[in-house]
């Protein structure tokens, strides 16, 4: 591993035993790896719970020092189109594995970002190269993976990490980096990162870059800085009846901070319950929010859908529901 001063890398677990919070999965994967033959795997679960880490541990266990020659990491959402994926897969699979193991491993991150058509194409690729390649795929929602692929994989569902697991990681890093951190600060880190270990560690490192003395306030400040912070401003404009400013601000935030409509909707959904409006209207707005989120996953234009939602907030500001 090239040395890294980014803590998510520096402290990434290297062994099965170090992977926290997913004991059941680790037990089963370990026995597969010990047999030196893994099936295609589908790792499903939220971000930052150890999917990529498990994939890395698998290849390191399988190939030892030669893991890098036998492992290809692909990002479904980064690679433009399935054709690129296929081409890379082909190039990679064409040569035999160098180690004692007759196959190589391809890690396809965010497989649920692939369209249905691309997944169909991938399914053929998986079959064509089944002898020389094993696919380890990760996704947030296994429901977005087509059945034929699911049926070709062993599926592991990752749980959201519990506080005690994240706390272990934090303490280990704090000790190695000589940080002082209180129990409250750990709680704060966990809450701000919502069980996403990558985010917790990033947040810890960002805070530590200011001072080795980690306090809940500091964490709050740093995490608020990186939040889609202006979402409240967007909503406040809308509630005050100023639709135009509200949507201009929204577009601004989305563009300059490069956050997706999905992030915006998540922030809005949380923010609704902090607003000074009738609870009944909050329920109606939540319903609208859910519908908007669904439409975005369906392939509608994020900004047009969000504007319709903002218009509902304008009404909510006047005590009216749509």
């Amino acid at each position: 591993m090239p040395q890294s001063d980014i803590w998510t890398e520096k402290y990434r677990p290297l062994l099965f035993d170090q992977l926290l919070g997913q004991q059941e999965i680790v037990k089963r994967v370990r026995s597969l790896v010990q047999a030196m033959n893994i099936p295609h795997l589908l790792l499903a679960g939220p971000a930052g719970v150890g999917k990529s880490t498990l994939a890395l541990i698998i290849v390191k266990e399988l190939f030892g020092d030669q893991w890098r020659e036998n492992y290809l990491e692909l990002n479904a959402s980064d690679e433009r189109g399935i054709d690129v994926v296929r081409q890379k897969v082909k190039d990679f699979a064409r040569t035999k594995a160098i180690a004692n193991i007759p196959f190589k491993v391809i890690f396809l991150d965010e497989a649920d970002a692939l369209t249905k058509e691309a997944q169909q194409a991938l399914r053929r690729t998986m079959e064509n190269y089944a002898n020389t390649c094993r696919f380890v795929m990760s996704c947030n929602y296994s429901s977005r993976i087509i059945d034929p692929i699911q049926s070709r994989c062993v599926i592991f569902r990752f749980k959201l990490l519990e506080k005690k697991d994240v706390a272990v990681v934090i303490r280990r890093i704090a000790e190695a980096e000589k940080l002082t951190i209180s129990e409250e600060a750990i709680t704060q880190l966990y809450e701000a990162s919502e069980g996403d270990c990558r985010r917790a560690v990033n947040l810890l490192q960002a805070t530590a870059s200011v001072s080795p003395d980690i306090t809940p306030d500091m964490i709050n400040m740093i995490s608020a800085k990186a939040q889609p912070k202006d979402m409240r401003v967007v909503l406040d404009y809308a509630l005050a009846g100023d639709f135009t400013n509200s949507r201009d601000k929204l577009l601004d935030v989305m563009l300059t901070e490069s956050i997706s409509g999905e992030d915006v909707i998540k922030a809005i959904q949380k923010e609704i319950w902090n607003l000074q409006i009738e609870p009944e209207i909050k329920v109606r707005l939540t319903e609208k929010t859910g519908e908007t989120e669904f439409r975005m996953t369906e392939g509608s234009d994020e900004f047009v859908q969000l504007q319709a939602l903002l218009a509902s907030f304008v009404l909510a500001g006047q005590g009216k529901a749509t």
Binding site: I6, E298, V304, A311
Partner: protein, 442 residues
């Protein structure tokens, strides 16, 4: 489906030369070399780059892989195909996609890169069975006239093989099975039933419409080379209007630039378009009427009109009317999404209804007064922003690779990790460029 003949097709009017052998120029790095792409050894080859009457679309036809923009995937596939031929799974390639995405250019560029002779037949040639057999079959079997030179057979616009080209498709299929040279075909709609026998014999490559940014960047380059007074906003408008059709964009650019007053935003045609859209908006927003046929006469597409309505609704409507109108627009957009996703063109009816009557009837009563409508700003803003965050993107890619995650995630992480990324040793580990370092200092 967009139709091809928006552009003067230099190949159409002339019959192909008797021998069908196109004397290929030696590969040259000169990318401005005009028109090496056409079949005819026409005077076009001798034209100097600044000949005023040559269509930009031909003059700036990409002639090498490096000058083809926005189609990297397709290029990789075609390279792979030609290099591995005849050991490829399929013996023919079928490039498909809407007009102006570079299907023919890619095929011709491939020929050039690999120094292959091109034998081209396009829609202007009769392509019935006898013709194909007579002209292509020998070619598909023989060696090239030029020693050591390979050959590719280019069947342009195969969807144009029509009823009058009797037996054309079965003969084509037979040719594909026997050919000793790679066959490359192009078409717009690959899923028509008549092409199904060809489809099963070919490797398909889809060319997607080019992004507005890609087109705008190319237009900027061309305006520079043509010394057209450049107005980025206007170039963007042309790019947006082209909807991914690079040829249409270049034609528009040339049309506007040929006036005495290059790229004056008040060019007549454009003014017409704007006048018509202003009238449309006025009708929708002021009247409370059945306006479902209103868009029929407009030269703008429904999607463009949707953007105009999106921009201007809050200038007209407030409160309930605004909420209703935005909801109608969201519904129109939802059907737009479904059309694109499933090619369910039937849903156009719904998109149309929601964005016409849905908007008009959102208000309780007709409005009067004058409203100044504005041109949609969103796409321009997105474009400008993309230019601005280009550095951040490459930075995110490096961070993503380094920390085993995806670019989307890394983009978010950058906000949090900025102080960490400013550390020298981290920058070295990530191999950041000077530009990227500078971005972090901001």
């Amino acid at each position: 489906m967009p139709l091809e003949p928006q552009t003067p097709n230099p190949q159409s009017p002339e019959p192909p030369p008797p021998q069908n052998q196109y004397p290929q120029e030696p590969p040259t790095p000169n990318q401005q070399n005009p028109n090496p792409a056409t079949l005819e050894p026409t005077p076009s080859q001798n034209q100097i780059p600044n000949t005023p009457y040559q269509p930009f679309a031909e003059k700036y036809r990409a002639t090498s892989f490096s000058s083809l923009v926005g189609q990297d995937t397709a290029i990789e596939t075609i390279k792979d195909f030609i290099q591995n031929f005849p050991k490829t799974k399929k013996r023919a390639l079928l490039l498909h996609g809407p007009a102006g995405t570079g299907k023919t250019s890619i095929a011709l560029a491939a020929a050039k890169e690999f120094d292959l002779e091109v034998l081209e037949l396009n829609a202007s040639d009769l392509r019935n069975r006898a013709q194909l057999e007579e002209r292509l079959k020998p070619a598909s079997q023989q060696q090239s006239l030029f020693k050591n030179k390979g050959k590719i057979l280019l069947m342009d616009e195969v969807d144009g093989v029509t009823g009058s080209d009797r037996g054309g498709i079965p003969e084509l299929v037979r040719l594909i099975k026997e050919t000793k040279h790679p066959i490359i075909m192009t078409c717009n709609d690959v899923w028509q039933s008549k092409l199904s026998p060809v489809r099963s014999q070919s490797q398909l490559i889809e060319l997607r419409p080019l992004s507005t940014q890609t087109i705008a960047a190319l237009l900027t380059k061309v305006s520079l080379q043509e010394s057209i007074k450049e107005n980025q906003h206007f170039l963007n408008q042309i790019a947006i209007k082209s909807q991914g059709d690079i040829r249409a964009a270049l034609n528009d650019l040339q049309a506007y630039a040929s006036g005495d007053n290059p790229l004056d935003p008040d060019v007549d045609e454009k003014r017409d378009v704007e006048e018509s859209i202003f009238n449309i908006l006025k009708k929708i927003f002021k009247d409370r009427d059945d306006v479902r046929n209103l868009f029929d006469s407009s030269s703008l597409s429904l999607d463009e009109i949707l953007l105009w309505i999106e921009e201007n609704t809050p200038r007209e409507y407030h409160n309930e009317a605004l909420a209703k109108a935005m909801l109608a627009l969201a519904n129109a957009d939802r059907f737009r999404g479904r059309i694109y996703k499933n090619q369910s063109w039937r849903f156009l009816v719904y998109q149309n209804l929601f964005q016409s009557n849905g908007i008009s009837f959102a208000k309780p009563a007709p409005l009067d007064g004058f409203t100044k409508y504005e041109r949609p700003k969103r796409i321009l803003k997105i474009w400008l922003n993309n230019q601005k965050i280009a550095k951040k993107k490459t930075l995110a890619q490096k961070l993503a690779r380094h920390t085993h995650t995806n670019t989307k995630r890394a983009l978010k992480d950058i906000n949090l990790l900025k102080p960490v990324l400013q550390q020298t040793q981290v920058q070295e580990q990530l191999r950041l460029s000077d530009d990227e370092r500078a971005f972090l200092e901001k």
